[in-house]
Each structure stands twice: as structure tokens, then as C-alpha cells.
Amino acid sequence: MKILYFAWLKTKLQISEEDISWSQEVADIDGLVRWMRARGPVFDEIFSDLDVIRIAVNQEYVTGNLSLTEGDEIAFFPPVTGG
């Protein structure tokens, strides 16, 4: 699965894009977020407050939980500020 980070998430994590393998542990959004938080203090801090994070799966906004499959593109980013 392809993971993308934008704006201050990218800056803080110093990652813009990474590939992770699908497993039972990251079989849905909730699992993926738990897995993220376990990666270290910076990840834990960022993913502890989901109110300030928007999530998109395959370039569509997702609210609530959703199953993930190999090949999915999951993006984490702050509220948008374009226009």
C-alpha cells in the first residue's frame, strides 16, 4: 500500500511517500492509525489527534473506518487551505 503525507505532516515526519505491506494489522484505517502511532513519538503525537488530520483512500475522502487492500493509496494531510 502506498502512504502519502502532505503539508505539515510531511514536514514533521520528513516523509512524503512510503510503501508498506498489507497485513492483518493494517487491514483497515483504524488498524493503520494504531500501527502509525506505535512507530515512535513523532508518529504517536501526530496520529493521536485525528480531528486535525484528513484521510483519503484512493484519492477519495474517508470519514470513519474503511477496509484496506494491497495496492490502496492512503493519504494523510491537514485540513485544506487552498483557494
Binding site: 484519492q59 493519504a75 485544506v80 487551505t81 487552498g82 483557494g83
Partner: protein, 152 residues
């Protein structure tokens, strides 16, 4: 028509492209958003716009389709820039064409309100000390977008 581009755009050219060789349009509204030298009490010397290539285009197309569904539009155009800009530069252009002025006005206003809260762009502002900060979501933009949500 939607376009996401690094280059500057020419407002007059875009309006002409929409209206030329047509005689059925009665009203054209354009909205241009520009980089201001001042935002929320701080001076701004530069702006960098990041976006999510792929999703940006999808969202803009959805917003455009929704405007065409809600109002009587003959044509519609959204152009949004990304990359580095300076105060005075245009960031975004929305154009609507309709037989009637109220449709053109409402659709353009809607397009901007939804774009602001849905299209995956992020602004980073720099000040004269060289410090740059990510712009925060504004409650007024959320309130503006909510005006267009059908009451249930």
C-alpha cells in the same frame, strides 16, 4: 474545464476562451484569488502552494459537476496554481457562464466555498524574517461552505 498548473494564468484570455464564438451567454462571473501581502495580522512576502496531484483534479471535477447540477450553467472553468508565488500573484480563477446573472453569481460563489474546504491544497506563507508557516484552516471558510449544504 478544470486545470491545475504551476504557471501564471491570464484572466482575460480565459474569459474570452469561454465566451468567444458564442451568442447564447447572458452573464459571465469571474472570481480571482490573489496572494495578499498581509494575512491574519502578519506581513506575507511569499506563498508556496502544495497539492495532492491526482486527487486535486478529481475533487475539482466533482465540485465543477456539482455546480453544473445545481445551476443553469453554459460553461464553467476552475484554474488553480501550485508552487511558489509572491504577493499580487493570482492563485485561483473561477469563471461561470449562464443565461442569467444570479446563476452565474451563485455558482461562482459556491465553487470558491467548496474548493476552499475540499480541494487538497495547502498554503505555506513566508514573512520577511524568512520564517514560513502552514496556513491554518479558517472557521469562516467552513461556515461559508456550510451555506451550500442542503438542510435536512
Amino acid at each position: 474545464m478544470i486545470r491545475v498548473q504551476r504557471d501564471i494564468f491570464n484572466i482575460g484570455d480565459e474569459i474570452n476562451a469561454l465566451t468567444e464564438a458564442r451568442t447564447d451567454i447572458g452573464a459571465v462571473v469571474s472570481f480571482t484569488g490573489l496572494v495578499r501581502d498581509f494575512n491574519e495580522g502578519t506581513s506575507v512576502t511569499g506563498l508556496t502552494l502544495e497539492h495532492y496531484p491526482g486527487m486535486t483534479e478529481r475533487e475539482l471535477k466533482k465540485i465543477e459537476a456539482e455546480a453544473c447540477r445545481r445551476w443553469n450553467l453554459q460553461d464553467c472553468c476552475i484554474i488553480h496554481r501550485y508552487g511558489d508565488m509572491v504577493p499580487g500573484d493570482p492563485i485561483v480563477l473561477v469563471i461561470t457562464a449562464s443565461p442569467h446573472r444570479q446563476d452565474a453569481f451563485d455558482a461562482a460563489s459556491f465553487l470558491m466555498d467548496w474548493l476552499k474546504t475540499k480541494a487538497p491544497f495547502w498554503k505555506q506563507e513566508s514573512d520577511e524574517t524568512g520564517q514560513s508557516d502552514w496556513v491554518k484552516e479558517r472557521q469562516s471558510d467552513l461556515d461559508a461552505a456550510r451555506r451550500w449544504t442542503p438542510k435536512t
